[in-house]
Amino acid sequence: MIDKRVASIAEAMAGVPDGATVLVGGFGAVGHPYALIEGLIEHGARELTIVTNNAGWAADSGLPKLMGLGRVRKIICSFPRGSSVFDELYRAGKIELEITPQGTLAERIRAAGAGIPAFFTATAAGTRLAAGKEVREINGRSYVLEQALHGDVALVEAWRADRWGNLIYRGTGRNFNPIMAMAAELTIVQTQEMVALGDLDPEAIVTPGIFVNRVVPVPYGDPPPARAA
């Protein structure tokens, strides 16, 4: 019997090594795997590279807390805003930053999951974010070569899951989660609800279980209220 369920968040984090590249889903607070990040903090892995859209959200939980504890060596993101913790660490030279345009970030992750080592995109051509990258003219337009971005670990939040790791999402909580699930060696999912095998409509499954390694039910409730940023 295939059963990817694990009983606790601590069990879900087992084996995450120091130095890991960790893909973290979410856009703002929605679809952000808060409980797994807390689990990663408890787990204690250090020297992490975090790949995520925003450099943190609520100051006292999640990524800012992980960064504040000195566990993060580098962050790869499109939007280094949302928490003062990152700003302070960055100004002090205590964290490395790689800014990637949001669509390029998504496609680098998708490419990793799809077995594509690199791709050309017009995004960032002629800008400072293309510095040091190969640029090629194709049909008269300049394109930048971008590399696939693999994770050792992906932390994903789903709405419903079954024991095979099939997932559906809620609202805009989908965001980076499905592509991150594809792109990591070890994909760990927190799900609001666990359902019996067969209860998810095969037509509606967004992430097939083949991309998922561990699922832990966390009835986390609604995301915190949105605030503009």
Binding site: F27, G28, A29, F79, R170, G171
Partner: protein, 228 residues
């Protein structure tokens, strides 16, 4: 006050709401449109509900409706500015790679962005205020600027201290090269062409020369321009 104008101006720059209404008037039914964070988001509310324009938000939705009220708020639905928004009938949800395939793949009819500067070549700067800024946030701006079929910019004509934002060459770091097709400011509507900036409308009471005085690159008169 702008620059060194000796007499009080006899014109009224458009308010932000009036600018939004002016942009909205040019968005026809059937277009798929991405509105950038900030002033461009005001445009959505100026499109009448019976004109079907489909708004895209890069965090994975098409068919975005107005900002949520306490009565209809769903905490699971946010837009790219992380506001709680509503979904129109016919809305769809998808992941980030599909969302940026919509953008990069040329499927959007229009992207409307704010900007610090636009050059007469169509270069646009809207993400970082200096080459040395520590950690500028790019978000989806570079993808939107190169991907949509049309890139329009909506911004004030000058900075608060009167410096031109329409320039020969951008001084701020570029978001994209040769990308902008049209600019809506509080003073004018300007096409970006192979010739450079071509003025198609000027706000009432302002002359072409007055507008030129507030612009950092040569302006050309458009065929339909009424003002002297």
């Amino acid at each position: 006050m702008v620059m060194t104008i000796s007499t009080a101006p006899q014109f009224a720059p458009l308010s932000r709401a009036a600018m939004a209404a002016r942009v909205a008037a040019d968005i026809p039914e059937g277009w798929y449109v991405n509105l950038g964070i900030g002033m461009p988001t005001l445009v959505a509310d100026c499109v009448p509900a019976d004109r079907e324009v489909v708004f895209h938000s890069e965090n994975g939705l098409l068919g975005m409706g107005p900002v949520a009220t306490p009565e209809n708020l769903d905490p699971w639905i946010v837009n790219a500015g992380k506001q709680n928004v509503t979904l129109r009938s016919g809305a769809s949800l998808f992941h980030h790679a599909d969302s940026f395939a919509i953008i990069r793949g040329g499927h959007l009819d229009l992207c409307l962005l704010g900007a610090y500067e636009v050059a007469e070549t169509g270069d646009v700067a809207n993400w970082a205020t200096s080459e040395t800024e520590a950690a500028p946030a790019v978000g989806g701006a570079m993808d939107l600027a190169v991907g949509a079929r049309r890139l329009w910019v909506m911004m004030e004509h000058t900075t608060r201290d009167g410096s031109p934002k329409l320039v020969e060459r951008c001084s701020y770091p570029l978001t994209a090269q040769r990308a902008v097709k049209r600019i809506y400011t509080n003073l004018a509507v300007i096409e970006v062409t192979d010739q450079g900036f071509v003025v198609s409308e000027i706000t009432a009471g302002l002359s072409f020369d007055d507008l030129q005085a507030r612009t950092g690159a040569k302006l050309h008169r458009g065929a339909g321009l009424k003002q002297d």
